[in-house]
């Protein structure tokens, strides 16, 4: 390792906790959210340095991009009255606790075994039999596919719960300010570009960094942009949208259940077919993930409702 590498890693590693600290101590919420987005991008850099390209991609798109957009778009709608400064005693208590945790965890971490390949070798040995040639896709959709099955259920439940708490009135996207000319032409370019990039990422996922989550979040980013700019209204729960929402989980459950009918274990794909099956699963997941992530956004940014409106609960 050269001096340049060390400097780069050192700067990144020092920046991460500093930015994180900046987020939690920022004076205003806007600033905190902005710094949070910056933190996401710096983490993505750190992960690229650690050879975790897939994680960097998802972090930049989902962890930083979509989460940041979620927070920013909700901020005007959340009344500042929810804010109550915590007491000095609480801060001091948490601070002391925190110092303890940090030192303790730091020491523990540094005393972990310095060299360990983890399960890397085992993954490499078995990758030929799995449904994908890219190790991370193989882990996500085959070796630990059951985790991903539950995770897709988590996404769907979150989407349903988000829908359930939204007032019906908030659902149709309100057109905000008129879209400016350059923005409109950018959005025209965005849709085809995202579809191409997403398709590319799904295809790459079978043998290189990329896959359903990366592709789905790119598509979702496109959908969210259209929605937040008021270009498209928020999704209505038509049959087609519901079908897109559940497609990924439905295919996954079917792939998990089919082997059971033949007396095998769940998710035990018939080995010669594993590749095509995993690819089909990736396509279905891409669609569902994109639509689910879009449903996390309730439409154009809104302001608190005027108090005069009547309750809409029946």
């Amino acid at each position: 390792m050269s001096l340049v590498d060390w400097t780069l890693d050192g700067v990144l590693a020092a920046l991460l906790p500093l930015i994180a600290w900046g987020v939690v101590t920022a004076a205003s919420l806007d600033k905190a959210i902005m710094l949070f987005i910056v933190l996401g991008f710096v983490s993505a850099l750190a992960w690229a340095r650690l050879d975790a390209i897939d994680v960097a991609l998802v972090e930049a798109a989902v962890g930083s991009g979509l989460t940041g957009a979620l927070l920013l778009s909700a901020l005007p709608a959340i009344q500042p009255r929810l804010r109550r400064p915590s007491s000095l005693a609480r801060r001091a208590g948490v601070g002391a606790l925190l110092a303890g945790i940090t030192i303790w965890l730091g020491v523990t971490t540094l005393r972990l075994p310095a060299r360990s390949g983890g399960l890397a070798e085992l993954v490499c040995e078995n990758i030929e039999q799995s449904g994908a040639l890219h190790p991370i896709t193989a882990v996500l959709l085959d070796f630990r596919g059951y985790d991903t099955l539950i995770e897709v259920a988590v996404l769907l439940v979150a989407s349903l719960a988000v829908r359930a708490v939204q007032r019906p009135r908030l659902r149709p996207g309100r057109r905000g300010e008129p879209t400016s000319e350059p923005l409109a032409s950018f959005l025209n370019l965005l849709v085809p570009a995202s579809i191409v990039i997403a398709g590319f990422l799904v295809w790459e996922g079978s043998h290189a960094p990329g896959g359903a989550f990366q592709a789905g979040s790119i598509l979702a980013g496109c959908g969210v942009s259209l929605q937040l700019t008021g270009e498209r209204p928020a999704l209505r729960m038509t049959l087609r949208v519901r079908a897109a929402l559940v497609l990924g989980l439905a295919v996954f459950v079917a792939l998990a259940g089919a082997p059971l009918l033949r007396g095998h274990d769940l998710l035990d794909y018939p080995r010669p077919w594993a590749g095509p099956l995993v690819f089909a699963l990736e396509l279905a997941l891409t669609v569902s993930i994109a639509v689910i992530l879009v449903t996390f956004f309730p439409g154009a940014p809104d302001r608190p409702e005027p108090p005069a409106r009547a309750a809409d609960s029946p």
Binding site: L112, P113, L119, D147, I150, A153, V157, L160, V253, L260
Partner: protein
């Protein structure tokens, strides 16, 4: 697995498939949910049967097996939890089916199916990271259930529960990261073999335990419990207090019994036991002071979480049986009480303690239910609660640690203090009959059947104990 029918996997896939389908075909959500529930009950019964006859059953997802893949394993404890979820949950969900349609009932059913799938997955998972994912699914489904009616206080309670729960999960996940870094496996059985007493392991244990205690609502961390249990719709409170509240405890038991058996009965375990004892006293005292029925029940749940934690300092098979029995009997009794309170609230219009005055004559089924379930909460023979507390106290005396037994007995006396007023008000003679609104008949029946389950648990303990012994780990 070879030859046997893979029922264990169906206990997760059946409710998941039902939930998926009922999102798609929203109009037919109720019949789909009924069919999926029936299929799940059959799978659960078959799995429990397999465990009872042949011992622990397991299935390796994707046929990979640990350490590369994830294993589902049903041992005695897992089967017992499956059975609990499979008896109490469908009974409670009957009230939504009984309410017949409506978007609220549909949303409830879909979220319940997801919650059920995740609870079963949690009871069966033998992988610490997979446990994290299932716990998150349990949490999100639970929050969805709490906020489903969009009541303002329920929204606030749901948000609080969600945020605290996430913090708990991330402490747990930090522990998982440390364990994996130290041992290169996530499978509980392999972890049990590979974990050595070094800083990383006990730090992981501490982080995971702290996170799970927060999620379980162990005493000093219980502040989120009463708002969530009192502002959610009653059927949801029944599920939360009866089933979902037990989920973090199940993970905790897996962790301590399978990965860190050496820590049972040690200093940290004593601390957990002491916090449990504190929870029993504090929860019961608050329940004594509460004036709303739902608050009484919520604080009673806090106290019962305390009993569950008495297992850790004792660490014997007998104590384990006792704690598992507390979990099962409290699930039935508490769910029954919450459903009965729904009937009272709907009949009288509120749930103050005096709401029960003179209602017994008009709603006899509900008050039989309240009485039977109350017996179990108090631990009077021959209820399930009695067996549970008796097992715990006996385990404590066997180890010569009489003070835990004293805690159990004192907790029982205190619970009598808050259960009796409910019943006394109800059966008090009344000059004129109070005006009652119409109350849902099916809620009464659900409450009564759950109370009967709680009572029956006291009559058939030996069969269940045999199931638990099969696990034979501790």
């Amino acid at each position: 697995m070879s030859g046997t029918t893979p029922w264990i996997s169906w206990t997760i896939l059946a409710p998941l498939a039902g939930a998926t389908l009922s999102v798609l075909v929203a109009r037919r959500a109720v019949p789909i949910a009924v069919i999926a529930s029936a299929a799940t009950i059959v799978s659960v019964a078959a799995t429990v049967g397999q465990v009872a006859s042949a011992g622990a059953v397991s299935s390796a997802a994707g046929a990979w097996g640990a350490p590369l893949g994830i294993t589902l394993r049903a041992d005695g404890f897992g089967a017992l939890m499956l059975a609990t979820f499979g008896v109490v949950g469908p009974l409670v969900s009957l009230q939504a089916i009984g309410r017949r349609g409506g978007p609220r009932a549909r949303r409830f059913l879909v979220l319940w199916l997801f919650a059920w799938a995740s609870l079963n997955a949690l009871a069966l998972s033998a992988d610490v990271f997979n446990l994290y994912v299932t716990v998150e699914l349990v949490t999100l489904a639970a929050v969805g259930l709490i906020v489903v009616e969009r009541d303002r206080r329920a929204l606030a309670a749901g948000l609080r529960y969600l945020l605290l729960s996430l913090v708990g999960s991330l402490f747990y996940l930090m522990g998982v990261a440390l364990l994996y870094a130290a041992t290169a496996t996530l499978d509980t059985e392999l972890l049990g073999e590979r974990v050595t007493p070094e800083p990383a392991s006990w730090t992981a244990l501490a982080l995971m335990t702290a996170g799970l205690c927060l999620k379980a609502g162990l005493c000093p961390l219980h502040a989120w419990v009463p708002p969530a249990y009192t502002s959610a719709p009653p059927a949801v409170s029944a599920l939360l207090s009866g089933l979902i509240g037990k989920a973090p405890y199940v993970v905790l038991v897996r962790l301590w019994v399978e990965v860190f058996p050496g820590s049972l009965g040690g200093g940290a375990a004593r601390l957990l036991g002491a916090l449990g004892a504190l929870g029993i006293f504090w929860g019961s005292l608050l329940a004594l002071r509460a004036r709303r029925l739902k608050r009484v029940l919520a604080y009673s749940s806090v106290a019962h979480v305390g009993y569950l934690f008495l297992f850790f300092p004792l660490g014997t098979a007998g104590a384990w049986a006792g704690a598992a029995y507390v979990a099962v009997s409290h699930a039935a009794a508490s769910a029954s009480m919450f459903m009965a309170v729904e009937v009272v609230e709907r009949s009288v219009g509120h749930d103050m303690l005096d709401a029960t005055k003179g209602v017994a004559h008009r709603r006899p089924l509900t008050f039989v239910a309240l009485g039977l379930a109350g017996m179990s909460l108090m631990g009077l023979p021959p209820s399930g609660g009695f067996v549970a507390k008796w097992l715990l106290a006996r385990a404590a005396l066997e180890r010569g640690e009489w003070w835990w037994a004293a805690v159990v007995i004192a907790g029982g006396l205190l619970s009598a203090g808050y259960v009796f007023p409910i019943l006394r008000g109800a059966f008090a003679p009344q000059r004129r009959s109070p005006e009652l609104r119409r109350a849902p008949r099916h809620a009464e029946l659900v409450s009564l059947s759950l109370a009967v389950v709680a009572l029956a648990l006291g009559l058939i303990p030996l069969r269940l104990m045999a199931l638990l012994k099969l696990a034979g780990r501790s």
